[in-house]
Symmetry: C2
Subunit: 262 residues, 2 copies
């Protein structure tokens, strides 16, 4: 006998870190819950703001932890940026403040990724190889007319060793020296990442639920677009957080495990 | 017969780049003007927001270009930061986003310059060796309680090859990832750099003139503190700039040369 799922929605979007796993450890019950959803014919995809790994890397990690997944099941801010920019300016020359997986995603979407300022866009991302030379290239690119686009708005990224600087640091540096403003940031809580995810699932927003640990991104974005929202308390949000009442997710659960009714 | 100086002030402060020299070239007349001031018994000092060289380096450059100067005649944002922080927290452990001359100035003022986040202050400066590792150290330091102080507020620095990113880029990155705010920025237009310069000259603000090429720093700061202000048009400000009428320097001259009456 299979356990039943608390919500009837056909599409399910899961945040990764703090929801499905924490660092290298699966959150207990994530494997059985997602298996039960799939067994019941529901469609599942995974969302991440982190542009540090490829979708195939995330899929391999999920599979290794007991949640079988392919690259097509994962939607990252890198993918969404590449798709969005392809609509705005296909094949454009771009300079990237970012790591290899983002450069590869952009190249795979037909962009000319250049190491110099002769570009139409500067793409800004979470980049652990960020340095003064990249900041200067971004400045020269903007002085030559380039526009700014970024992957994600996060200030810091939680790791097993504590928080480290995320994309907001690179974005602020570029904006400060150029005087220009990032035109669009595609990752959560932007509707752009949800649009790509819903298209992947092939379901409408009203038929979809989103499960995540962050009120200001996962839950706020889901509510704004009409998805059912499920907050889990296995990540950054504590049960006593006063914003829970304010932002009002449809369900608040101790963990992904409780999506299944006993 | 010596030419006479247009203003009677005993103390004279000169901005460097764009006022006394441009890159490696002396602005014509800077040598004779400053020599005439000194011959007339006026006291002269030089101000720079740039923490990239030591005061001795600036003095050597001035001397090489025909304006004899010693390190004690030069006031940099590094010196002002070191003196200000010595008043706030003498001998404190500090982490520095900056280059070697700033580290040396801080060490010479008795600070414990550390390469790790176990500090009470993060000092932020124009730093061409800025990178993600430094940004992360700054984040960890602030999470451990460290406070922020910066050398100068400039977005970019003009060079012979064009503008390059200045301290505002480093400051914005650190503020964005830490959520903390720089408590004080000591360089122009802060009154702190003028206070140090006036103390060096041994004259009161009302007896002093400042000569510079930037309205928003040299001139605005001078006016705010009651100095006579002289804008020269050999740097970043064009004669047609509408802000000249608004900020209203006491004199607007084509160059430092015209400080002497023919």
């Amino acid at each position: 006998m299979t356990a039943s799922v608390r919500l009837p929605h056909r599409g399910w979007l899961f945040d990764l870190d703090g929801t499905v796993y924490r660092g290298e450890a699966l959150i207990p019950g994530a494997d059985t819950t997602i298996a039960a959803l799939r067994a019941a014919g529901r469609r599942v995809a995974f969302l991440s703001n982190k542009p540090l790994e490829t979708r195939a890397d995330y899929a391999a990690k999920l599979t290794r932890l007991g949640v079988p997944a392919g690259a097509a099941d994962v939607v990252t801010s890198s993918l969404v940026l590449a798709r969005h920019l392809r609509r705005l300016d296909p094949g454009a020359p771009v300079f990237v403040i970012g790591e290899a997986p983002l450069l590869a995603e952009l190249a795979a979407h037909g962009f000319e990724v250049r190491p110099d300022p002769r570009v139409r866009w500067v793409v800004i991302a979470f980049d652990r190889t960020f340095d003064y030379a990249k900041l200067n290239t971004a400045l020269q690119a903007v002085r030559g007319g380039a526009r700014l686009i970024a992957t994600n708005p996060d200030r810091t990224c939680p790791t097993e060793d504590g928080e480290i600087p995320d994309c907001a640091g690179m974005t602020a540096a570029v904006e400060a020296v150029t005087g220009a403003t990032v035109e669009v940031t595609v990752g959560k809580p932007s509707p752009l990442i949800l649009e790509v995810a819903l298209e992947r699932l092939g379901v409408a927003a009203g038929e979809c639920a989103i499960v995540g640990d962050r009120l200001e991104t996962d839950i706020a974005m889901g509510k704004r677009l009409g998805l059912a929202t499920v907050l889990v308390l296995t990540g950054v949000t504590a049960a006593a957080d006063p914003r829970i009442a304010e932002i009002a997710p449809d369900l608040v659960l101790p963990s992904i495990r409780e999506l299944l009714e006993p």
